[in-house]
């Protein structure tokens, strides 16, 4: 009685937006609200609607998904989860372990996902052998983006070692240019950190320290060097950096106020959406490192929902996402590369082609690693512990030794 009464208002709202006949419906909870991201979402939305589905958009802006996590938890606890949620990495596994995700086994068999999805992504989207999410893309994190005109002012080429990077940055600084465009949010600080870990420690060290959380690696000389480099980087940013969104940092590179930005290839979407051309208006090179590829991947997880329309919506969505043409269109907008094999490479820009090439190479030589900042390699708790120390070090005058000690302690506490 009370239930039906309270439901009334929401039912009216729903009735206004849904057709009388059952239509596959997907309420999509995501945090893609920047310009380039919104264009990419639009591609998904159009494809879903063309296939007869109804897309209910539920964007939660802010902080690379920080706010979204709260909404998702509240919705799951209330027994009314959004049907389709953009989550990634360890979060997928933890939600699956909590029994909240709907296995997509039948569909995966029908569409033969095992043959389509690259091996690197299978670990991410499978739980106990079942597909519980469908991958959308592959992002590379260890990219350096630069404004060629600004670099030319100091006769510099994109750096390939951290020494070169530091030297170039000093020159730029002397020239009155901001060397590194950066936004001081913990996840962005952590992006710098993991890139430096890969660059200074190499892929094996990266795995030991950030994946296995090996205490020796965490307190090693190498880790101290990593924090030394982080300290250097903190001198290359402008004073107004705290709290800045990543895409506003990108805009600084576009306008030539800053020379470089270290960030995943979603940055490219911003460049492209502003009408700029790769290799002419902006350069993409891997960040200084011997080799290696830091992987980040977005997925749609399908939460267990009661209604039929939503269930059909999930089926429809899951069956569409790996479509070859959709993968192409979506990833062209998003800045990433397709999450399935055998997509026609025409139309992809040099940055994306480089990403595809390097991904294959790094898979072959074992230098493929997963992102910490983006929660692929660790869950929220451990990632948070890293973020606390990284951001605290980056924003204070903490010494590298102190940072290393604090890191070991904080990470142990979070496990």
């Amino acid at each position: 009685m009370v239930q039906s009464l309270f439901r009334h208002a929401s039912a009216v709202l729903l009735a206004l937006t849904t057709h009388a006949a059952a239509q596959p419906t997907a309420e999509v909870l995501h945090y893609w609200t920047s310009g380039g991201e919104a264009e990419a979402v639009q591609v998904l939305k159009n494809a879903f609607e063309d296939a007869g589905g109804k897309w209910v958009d539920a964007p939660v802006a802010g902080g690379g998904g920080d706010a979204q996590a709260a909404v998702l938890r509240a919705r799951v606890l209330s027994g009314d989860p959004p049907s389709t949620v953009q989550i990634k990495g360890q979060n997928i596994h933890q939600w699956a372990a909590a029994g909240a995700l709907r296995p997509l086994t039948d569909l995966a068999e029908r569409q033969n996902w095992d043959a389509l999805v690259p091996d690197v992504l299978k670990d991410v989207v499978k739980y106990n052998g079942d597909y519980v999410a469908v991958p959308l893309n592959i992002h590379r994190v260890n990219w350096l983006w630069a404004n060629p005109e600004v670099l030319a002012r100091v006769d510099a080429k994109p750096p390939t070692t951290w020494e070169e990077f530091n030297a170039t940055a000093e020159k730029l600084k002397a020239e009155g240019v901001i060397p590194l465009a950066h936004g001081g949010q913990p996840w962005q600080d952590a992006t710098l950190f993991e890139v430096v870990v890969l660059g200074i420690g190499g892929p094996q060290f990266y795995k030991k320290a950030l994946q296995d959380l090996d205490a020796e690696a965490l307190t090693s000389e190498t880790m101290i060097k990593v924090f030394d480099q982080m300290r250097k980087l903190s001198t290359f940013v402008d004073p107004g950096f705290p709290g800045r969104e990543w895409n506003l940092a990108t805009a600084m590179v576009m306008r030539g106020e800053a020379a470089m930005q270290i960030m995943g290839d979603w940055v490219k979407a911003e460049f492209l959406s502003a009408g700029l051309t790769p290799e002419e208006d902006f350069i993409c090179v891997p960040t200084p490192a011997q080799n290696g590829y830091i992987l980040n991947s977005d997925s749609f997880a399908m939460f267990k929902v009661p209604e039929d329309e939503a269930g059909q919506g999930q089926d429809l969505m899951a069956s569409l996402v790996l479509d070859e043409e959709l993968q192409r269109k979506f990833n062209l907008k998003k800045g990433s590369i397709p999450a399935r094999k055998g997509v026609d490479q025409s139309g992809f820009d040099p940055c994306a082609l480089r990403s595809m090439e390097d991904l294959e190479a790094s898979e072959a030589d074992g230098s493929l690693v997963s992102s910490l900042a983006h929660e692929i390699v660790q869950d929220g708790a451990v990632r948070g512990a890293f973020l606390d120390v990284i951001t605290q070090h980056f924003n204070t005058d903490m010494s590298s030794q102190e940072a290393v000690n604090l890191l070991a302690e904080t990470v142990a506490l979070a496990r």
Binding site: R73, A100, Q185, D238, G380, T391
Partner: protein, 303 residues
């Protein structure tokens, strides 16, 4: 027909009912609060003794979450921030609010307009306040660049991006918002001060300052207390302002316990730890509120 009898028994039922009517009327509200406030507090307390992570789990594991909480630097920072924020926010709001009220009480012609000007920030949400102040305090577009543009090239006001000062930025915005409300409280109280006593003191030749310090302000003690309690609980609840103004940064330099709790519970899949921090927040509230409520209601009974 034994009508009188039946009628009287009917009446006693009604009588009884109407005798308990006040209780019956309060009951729904009270039960709602019992469930939605105290029930939830108990729930949270229970969860703080479990190893809840992604979703609430109900197996008790003892005080582990509290040990973890106290070992975290982030919690220390948040709690210290609360002390700094609370102290400055409460003191400044009280001082400014009281001063403005006394000044406005001097038969000011435009009192109505001024009062509205001081009071309006209270009408605005923390999100809007945070957005506006963030914009003004942004070093490259706000006050700093404006004053530099006027010719004072070396002017610096970059607290919002300074890890040691960011929490004071939160204080400034919060005081701006609440001090007008405190002013309104004091002003109302000033208007109800017994004018006979004031007049008598005046006839005795006391100066205005003396009258304020010696007679009027001391008589406002209950308002001080009310304002203190309102401000104290606002400072413990403060959450949105930090989110909109500093995002807790630089780093986590300006986070408050409420932000800590939110971050742990929702972002880091540490529901148990978040619950432990919530319990600490509640204990802090209780430490202020229980003595206050006790003294208030005791006082009432005697009066």
């Amino acid at each position: 027909m034994p009508q009188p009898k039946g009628g009287s028994s009917h009446r006693t039922v009604l009588d009884k009912l109407s005798r308990f009517l006040p209780q019956l009327v309060v009951a729904p509200s009270f039960l709602l609060i019992l469930f939605f406030v105290y029930g939830f507090i108990i729930w949270t307390g229970y969860i703080s003794f479990t190893d809840s992570r992604m979703l609430p789990a109900y197996e008790v594991q003892g005080f582990r979450q509290y040990f973890r909480l106290f070992a975290m630097d982030r919690w220390d920072v948040a709690f210290d921030n609360l002390l700094v924020f609370g102290a400055f926010y409460i003191t400044l709001s009280l001082a400014i609010g009281c001063l403005l009220a006394v000044l406005l009480d001097q038969r000011i012609r435009a009192e109505g307009a001024l009062r509205t000007i001081y009071l309006y920030p209270m009408a605005i949400s923390f999100i809007v306040t945070g957005t506006a102040w963030k914009w003004m305090l942004n070093p490259s577009l706000g006050i700093e660049s404006y004053i530099r543009g006027l010719g004072w090239e070396s002017f610096r006001f970059d607290w919002i991006v300074d890890k040691d000062m960011a929490i004071y930025v939160v204080v400034i915005a919060a005081v701006w918002q609440a001090s007008g409300f405190v002013m309104a409280l004091f002003l109302s109280a000033l208007r109800s001060v017994d004018q006979e006593i004031v007049k008598a003191a005046y006839l005795d030749g006391a100066s205005t300052t003396r009258i304020y310090l010696g007679i009027i302000l001391p008589s406002l003690r209950p308002v001080f207390l009310s304002a203190f309690v309102i401000l104290a609980h606002l400072s413990i609840k403060s959450f949105d302002l930090v989110v909109a103004l500093t995002g807790g940064g630089p780093g986590y330099a300006s986070t408050l316990p409420a932000n800590f709790m939110y971050e742990m519970t929702f972002r880091r899949n540490q529901i148990g730890l978040g619950a432990a921090s919530a319990v600490m927040m509640l204990l802090t509230v209780a430490a202020i509120m229980v003595p206050y409520l006790y003294s208030e209601l005791r006082g009432k009974r005697h009066a």
